[in-house]
C-alpha cells in the first residue's frame, strides 16, 4: 500500500502517526500541497478546527484537498477532523467552512467545555468495545440517510452517533489515537485497502 498521510498543520499528529505505524503503514506528514503526491488516504487529527481551517487556506491545501475528497479520496477525521469533514457546523465562527464530505451536522464543543471532557467505553458495530476519549468533543446532532452509524453514545440525553462513515469519509467524535486501541484506524485502513483493490 502507498503511504497514508496525516495532516500535520496542528494538533495531535504524532499519536495518529504512531497508531498507523503500529498497523504497519508508511506514514507521511502533510503540510503543503506537494506532500499529497503519492498518498492514498489522509487522516485529519484532533486539534482546533478554527486553526486548522485557517492553516489549510494559507498552506494552499484547501483546494487540492477539497477536490480529492469530493472525488472519493479516503479520509478519517477525529474530533476537529470530524468538524472539518462535516456538511454543517454549529457554534462555529461565522466564516467557518468544512469539506462537507459527511452529511452530518456537528455542534462544536457539543458535550461542554473542558471541565466536561470525559472517557467512556464505546461499542463499535462488529468490532467490540473501544475506549472513547472525548475532549471538548463535537456532537453529531443530525445525520443524513447515507450516513452509516458505526457507534453511538448516550450521554444521558439520547443516543448520538460518535463514529460515522459516508462512502470513503470517516468521522469520529472521540480520540482513538490517544489510546493504544487501533480498532478505528484498522477499520479505516481495511476500507482504504478495499478501495484500492
Amino acid at each position: 500500500m502507498r503511504a497514508v498521510g496525516v495532516l500535520a498543520l496542528q494538533g495531535d499528529v504524532r499519536e495518529h502517526v504512531t497508531t498507523l505505524e503500529n498497523l504497519g503503514v508508511t506514514v507521511r506528514r502533510v503540510r503543503t500541497p506537494g506532500d499529497l503526491n503519492g498518498v492514498s488516504g489522509l487522516v485529519i487529527p484532533g486539534g482546533e478546527s478554527t486553526t486548522m481551517s485557517r492553516l489549510l487556506m494559507t498552506s494552499g491545501l484547501r483546494e487540492p484537498l477539497q477536490s480529492l475528497i469530493t472525488g472519493g479520496f479516503p479520509v478519517l477525521g477525529t474530533c476537529a477532523g470530524l468538524i472539518m469533514l462535516a456538511r454543517e457546523v454549529l457554534d462555529g465562527r461565522a466564516d467557518q467552512w468544512s469539506f462537507g464530505a459527511i452529511d452530518v451536522t456537528v455542534r462544536r464543543n457539543g458535550y461542554g467545555r473542558q471541565i466536561a471532557s470525559f472517557e467512556t467505553p464505546i461499542d463499535v458495530l462488529g468490532s467490540g468495545t473501544v475506549p472513547g476519549v472525548f475532549i471538548r468533543a463535537p456532537r453529531i446532532v443530525r445525520w443524513g440517510e447515507e450516513v452509516v452509524v458505526l457507534a453511538s453514545h448516550d450521554h444521558g440525553d439520547g443516543a448520538h452517533p460518535v463514529l460515522v462513515r459516508q462512502g470513503s469519509a470517516w468521522g469520529c467524535s472521540f480520540h482513538p489515537e490517544l489510546t493504544s486501541d487501533v480498532t478505528v484506524h484498522g477499520l479505516f485502513l481495511d476500507a482504504l485497502a478495499e478501495a484500492l483493490r
Binding site: 496542528q10 486539534g47 482546533e48 486553526t51 494559507t58 466536561a116 470525559f118 457507534a151 453514545h153
Partner: protein, 298 residues
C-alpha cells in the same frame, strides 16, 4: 450499536493531558479584552490566555498582580470558540477554585502573577480542570507534574520580548532528559535526588526520553523566527504574551507567528511570513531587570 448509559469519567489524567495534546503545533495568545481575543482567534490561535494586563505592563506597573476579574474572563469566553485559559497565583488554590467555577479550559499557575504561597504550589490533582505550570529545569518540571500539572511550559522571562531565558530553560530540560536516558538503573536514584524529583517520574523520563506531559515554550517570544527557534529546540507549542499586542501590527504578527509555528522547519515559509512585518515589541535586556519572574516558584 449504542453504548448503554455507561459510566463516563471526567477529569482523568488522559482527558486533562489530552487537551494539551490538541494544542500542540499551535499558538496560545495573551489577550486582555474580547476584541483582542477575536483578533487572536481570527489569526488562528489554538487558545487564548485571558488576563488583565500582559506581562510587560505588569512589569511596568509593579504592585501585586492577581487573578483577573471573572467578568473579564467571561466576556472573553463569550467572544471566542477556542479554549480560554486564565492565570492563578502560585499556591493560590482559592483563585484556582474560582477559575474552575468559571469553566475555564486550562489554569496557568503562573509566576507572572505575584506568588501567594512561598513554599507550596497548588495541589492540582483535586481539580477537574487541567493546569499548566512553568519550569526552568527538569527537576522543577517533574515536581509540578507530581503535583498534578498536565502541561509544562518554559518560564522564559515574561514581558521582556527577549527569548534568551526560554531558550536556556528548554535547553536545560532537554539536556537533563538526555542525561537520564543514558543513565543506568542505579544512577537514576542519585539523579532523582539531584533533580529533587520523584524517583518514579525520573524512571519514566529515562525510559521514554520525554516528559509524561507536553512541553510548550513561553516567555519572550516576539517574532516568527523566535517561534521557529523554540520549536526546533523541542517545544511542542508556544505561548505568546506581550509579543503580539505590543508589536506594531498585531494582526499580521499574530498570523505570522501562527504560520511560523506550523511550518517551523521550512525556512522559506518562515522567511515569507517574517517579511515586512513591522516592528516587534521593543523588549528588554534580561541582565538589567530588577524583577526576575522566572525565579518565582521552585
Amino acid at each position: 450499536m449504542t453504548s448503554a448509559l455507561s459510566p463516563s469519567t471526567v477529569g482523568s489524567a488522559l482527558v486533562k493531558r489530552g487537551l494539551a495534546d490538541m494544542l500542540r503545533g499551535g499558538v496560545i495568545m495573551d489577550v486582555v479584552n474580547p476584541e483582542q481575543a477575536k483578533i487572536a482567534e481570527d489569526a488562528g490561535a489554538v487558545a487564548v490566555m485571558a488576563l488583565e494586563r500582559v506581562p510587560s505592563d505588569i512589569r511596568r506597573d509593579g504592585g501585586v498582580a492577581r487573578m483577573s476579574d471573572p467578568q473579564m474572563i467571561q466576556e472573553i469566553q463569550a467572544a471566542v470558540t477556542i479554549p480560554v485559559m486564565a492565570k492563578a497565583r502560585i499556591g493560590h488554590f482559592a483563585e484556582a477554585q474560582i477559575l474552575q467555577a468559571l469553566d475555564v479550559d486550562y489554569i496557568d499557575e503562573s509566576e507572572v502573577l505575584t506568588p501567594a504561597d512561598e513554599e507550596n504550589h497548588i495541589d492540582k490533582w483535586v481539580f477537574t480542570v487541567p493546569f499548566v505550570c512553568g519550569a526552568t529545569n527538569l527537576g522543577e518540571a517533574l515536581r509540578r507534574i507530581a503535583e498534578g500539572a498536565c502541561l509544562i511550559r518554559s518560564k522564559g522571562e515574561a514581558g521582556t520580548g527577549n527569548v534568551v531565558e526560554a531558550v536556556r530553560h528548554l535547553r536545560t530540560i532537554n539536556a537533563q532528559m538526555r542525561r537520564l536516558a543514558s543513565a543506568d538503573a542505579a544512577e537514576l536514584f542519585a539523579l532523582a535526588k539531584d533533580l529533587q524529583a520523584p524517583v518514579a517520574l525520573v524512571q519514566e523520563v529515562a525510559a521514554t526520553g520525554k516528559l509524561p506531559v507536553p512541553l510548550f515554550c513561553a516567555g519572550g517570544i516576539s517574532t516568527p523566527a523566535d517561534a521557529s527557534l523554540v520549536l526546533q529546540l523541542g517545544a511542542e507549542a508556544v505561548f505568546v504574551g506581550s509579543g503580539i499586542f505590543k508589536s506594531e501590527d498585531p494582526v499580521r504578527m499574530a498570523k505570522a507567528i501562527v504560520e511560523a509555528t506550523t511550518h517551523y522547519e521550512d525556512a522559506s515559509i518562515v522567511t515569507k511570513v517574517s517579511t515586512g512585518l513591522g516592528a516587534a515589541m521593543r523588549g528588554a535586556e534580561t541582565a538589567t531587570l530588577e524583577t526576575r519572574l522566572a525565579e518565582r516558584g521552585w
